[in-house]
């Protein structure tokens, strides 16, 4: 069947976006593929469309539980019933039932933790899988910003007689790309590398002497220019305090971070998409799964931990292709804090020694989590390496990683300190070459924010004062 026809009938598009067709054709031809497509460029279509041609299950390995649920919900919304997410949200009975009936599904989303469980493995071995998709494939690399030890086992699990693997990522350096190829045991994969540059996002930066000066600048800027925008910051408490500052000045803002009430997070997303909120003040927890095309501004209140995060976060602006700005704020010694945050969740020597003590006492080391001696994410990384290497080697490894993480911050600092083109530095970091520069490219090349941003429209922010009875009536469509 012609793939254009399915594109039209199933997905309602008449043309492919850049890269989609190439990737799909290679996958259909039985080849392994690594595809680097920026977020919002239709990554998921690259495996969804083939799913309708194969008529055999497609397995999608995804590390982000909440994102997985979102994808399943969205596919169901588009009338795909044969889709399931196999993850730790399920209770044992649901899990058992789902595994038992696994062949009924066209799309099977699975978390890496679930994938390595024996009963899942056993079932998967009996399924005629058409394609294995590794989403967020950069998680396989210990040099990536979000290393998942369980990802390293994917390559071993499927052996030689496996269907093609499609590795997807939005941001990966050449070093990480190499890791993806090696650890997934890919055979001469076809690579589609889309340029990481987003010409409609204009890059600005401002330096300050004092941290407090940044807040004054943000307030003034937000009062004068039009959103919608996102302000990224490094701590949960900062999202609260900055959003309160904006709210006090009559700006429709909300704070967002991983510790927020589950319903609150959805209300904020919904209000933001509806344009009833202008600004979100968030940690890096905000953005995944939020599809808002008209974001005009991304402000980094402080420098992010690495270039990949920066790229991913500014990439949430201007999905509609219209001009947008990304503003990086820096105050003296911000890099020290960024480094501290970066290495804070790496296991340290003390953790390694504790781990050994537990082993000597013949107690399960994961007790460390319950005893509050280590975070769950840190433990996951620690445990993986402790089963691979000696304690001293692991110490050395983490030392190297620590330097690597600090070095990542220094890479971001280049953007702050440089007098060269910011866009060039960004693109080169990902091992690519910049071909053309847009006008108003960046602060170094010369840029005027007034040419890119509209002045703020004073909207009357009316508080809904209807009685509760009317609200229920409105929601339920009762006149």
């Amino acid at each position: 069947m012609e793939i254009e026809k399915i594109l039209k009938e199933r997905f309602g598009f008449s043309t492919f976006r850049p890269g989609q067709k190439e990737v799909i054709e290679q996958v259909m031809g039985g080849n392994d593929v690594i595809a680097l497509l920026p977020t919002g460029m239709g990554k998921s279509l690259c495996y969804q469309l083939p799913g309708y041609i194969f008529n055999q299950p497609v397995l999608i390995i995804s590390p982000l539980l909440s994102l997985m649920q979102d994808q399943v919900d969205q596919m169901k919304q588009f009338k795909e019933k044969r889709v399931v997410a196999l993850n730790s949200f399920m209770n044992p009975e649901q899990k058992k039932q789902t595994i038992y009936h696994l062949e009924q599904y066209r799309f099977i989303f699975i978390s890496p933790e679930m994938l390595i469980q024996p009963q899942v493995q056993q079932k998967l071995n009996t399924l005629p899988l058409a394609l294995i998709v590794v989403d967020e494939a950069h998680c396989i690399s210990q040099w990536g910003f979000d290393f998942r030890p369980d990802y390293l086992k994917i390559g071993e699990l499927f052996g030689n007689h496996r269907p093609p693997i499609l590795a997807l990522s939005a941001t990966a350096t050449s070093k990480v790309l190499k890791d993806i190829e090696v650890y997934l045991n890919m055979s001469q994969p076809y690579k589609y590398i889309h340029s990481v540059d987003r010409p409609n996002i204009h890059l600005a930066k401002y330096s300050f002497l004092e941290k407090e000066d940044k807040l004054d600048w943000i307030l003034r800027h937000v009062l004068e220019t039009e959103g919608p925008g996102i302000i990224y910051t490094q701590s949960r408490s900062k999202t609260e305090s900055i959003s309160e500052l904006l709210l006090q000045h009559g700006i429709a803002a909300a704070s967002y971070h991983g510790g927020k009430d589950q319903l609150d997070r959805q209300f904020i997303q919904q209000q933001y998409i509806d344009d009833s909120l202008d600004w979100i003040v968030a940690t890096n927890a905000f953005g995944m799964g939020v599809h808002k095309p008209n974001v005009r501004q991304i402000i980094h209140e402080t420098i992010p931990g690495n270039m990949a995060n920066y790229m991913q976060e500014i990439g949430r602006a201007g999905r509609d292709g219209k001009d947008a700005v990304a503003i990086l704020l820096y105050a003296e010694r911000d890099e020290e804090f960024a480094k501290f945050v970066g290495i804070d969740d790496l296991p340290n020597d003390h953790h390694i020694e504790l781990y050994e003590t537990y082993q000597l006492r013949q107690e399960p080391p994961n007790q460390m989590i319950q005893n509050g001696e280590i975070s769950e994410t840190s433990f996951r990384v620690l445990q993986y390496w402790m089963t691979q290497k000696s304690a001293n080697e692991v110490k050395e490894l983490f030392q190297t990683m620590k330097y690597e993480k600090m070095h990542e911050v220094d890479e971001v600092m280049k953007l702050v300190k440089t007098e060269c083109c910011m866009r060039e530095i960004l693109v080169q970091y990902f091992g690519q070459e910049l071909e053309t520069k847009p006008t108003n490219c960046c602060t170094s090349c010369g840029l005027t924010l007034e040419n890119l941003l509209l002045p703020r429209q004073q909207k009357d922010h009316v508080v809904e004062e209807t009685p509760w009875q009317k609200r229920v009536a409105k929601i339920l469509g009762i006149s």
Binding site: F78, F89, Q270, Q271, K474, L476
Partner: protein, 344 residues
């Protein structure tokens, strides 16, 4: 502010006979013998488990403020003494909590309700697909079954649900603002809910106070729904198994069944391979929950009066003191009498 008032009220009720940590366990609904018995002894049913997720940090911060502002002093052993200032402050919090019977299940009720309403809202506006606001697969499955079994496609379910909500919520004995807060947490087609932060600004109260009012409103509303199930059949169905009828821990429930079959404490302890003291904890829990449970198989009428008089004479409910006064009685026997609280 509400948090502080609730804490002071709990401290008052504990009569300075428990440690500074006791209110923390009470608010979180800790299922230990001690906390459960204290609920009966000090008549603290309304506050049990109203904050299942309260963090120790938040709690300690509030306690530090109480100490700083001279509402109480704390001894090295962790006991507290309320100051005159605190005693003056002892006004009752007029929020109709019913923690003992809901124990956090009010959130399950609201989760189901909000997804039912979101679904019916989309149906009313002819939008048959949407992203569910509740992510828990069990809640989703429950709501799916509810909608199908009530034939939501064929009839006007939203009209009936609307009428039930209006009538039942209007009857709930709580101020209008509380009802506004609960209704603003609902979401529908092109209508987003309000975050705690937003509600806190509109109502000019702290986020925590807003959540207290929200919980109290759900309790008051649920009381009305579960008392008159036949009048509100849809809401009663959504509130299915939300109210704890016989609030016993699972283990105490097993003990209760064996005891009813005529087994002695000793036999139950051997059969269940549990310590005697654990079984005694269960018996105390049962005595507290079931007013018809006859404690006279463990203690004579005369001894009961002895305990009641001692509590009055010495104005204490501290076990250690009472045991010193009545060395003839075991701790277990004294606890049994105390478990009856003011009903003795």
């Amino acid at each position: 502010m509400i948090f502080r008032q609730i804490l002071l009220q709990i401290f008052h009720k504990f009569k300075q006979e428990r440690t500074i940590s006791a209110p923390f366990h009470l608010l979180r609904g800790k299922r230990s013998g001690q906390t459960i018995q204290d609920v009966g002894i000090f008549q603290l049913h309304m506050y049990f488990g109203i904050l299942p997720k309260l963090s120790r940090k938040t709690y300690d911060e509030e306690i530090s403020k109480l100490i700083e502002e001279q509402y109480m002093t704390v001894s090295d052993e962790g006991y507290y003494i309320l100051t005159a200032k605190a005693k003056e402050m002892n006004q009752t919090v007029d929020l109709p909590f019913n923690g003992w019977q809901y124990r956090g299940n009010e959130h399950l009720f609201f989760a189901r309700l909000s997804l039912v309403i979101q679904s019916l809202s989309h149906k009313a506006y002819n939008q048959m697909s949407f992203l569910p606001i509740q992510k828990d697969p069990q809640v989703q499955e429950w709501v799916r079954k509810f909608l199908i079994s009530h034939h939501y496609q064929e009839r006007d379910l939203q009209q009936q649900l609307y009428e039930e909500i209006i009538v039942s919520l209007e009857q709930a004995p709580i101020e209008q603002h509380a009802k506004v807060i609960v209704m603003k947490r609902l979401t529908g087609y092109k209508i987003a809910g309000y975050t705690w932060q937003q509600l806190s600004i509109y109502e000019n109260k702290s986020e925590m106070d807003i959540q207290f009012i929200y919980i109290a409103c759900l309790h008051a509303w649920l009381n009305g729904i579960t008392d008159k199930e036949s009048q509100f059949p849809l809401l009663a169905a959504i509130a299915e198994q939300v109210r704890v009828a016989m609030p016993l821990s699972g283990s105490a429930y097993q003990t209760a069944q064996l005891f009813q079959q005529g087994y002695s404490i000793e036999q139950i302890s051997q059969y269940r391979k549990l310590k005697r003291s654990t079984i005694e904890d269960h018996i105390v829990e049962i005595a507290m929950n079931n007013p018809r449970f006859d404690i006279r198989s463990f203690i004579t009428e005369e001894e009961i009066h002895q305990v009641v008089n001692a509590v009055d004479d010495y104005n204490t409910r501290k076990l250690k003191i009472l045991h010193e006064v009545m060395p003839n009685l075991s701790y277990f026997q004294i606890r049994l009498v105390l478990a009856r609280g003011e009903t003795v």
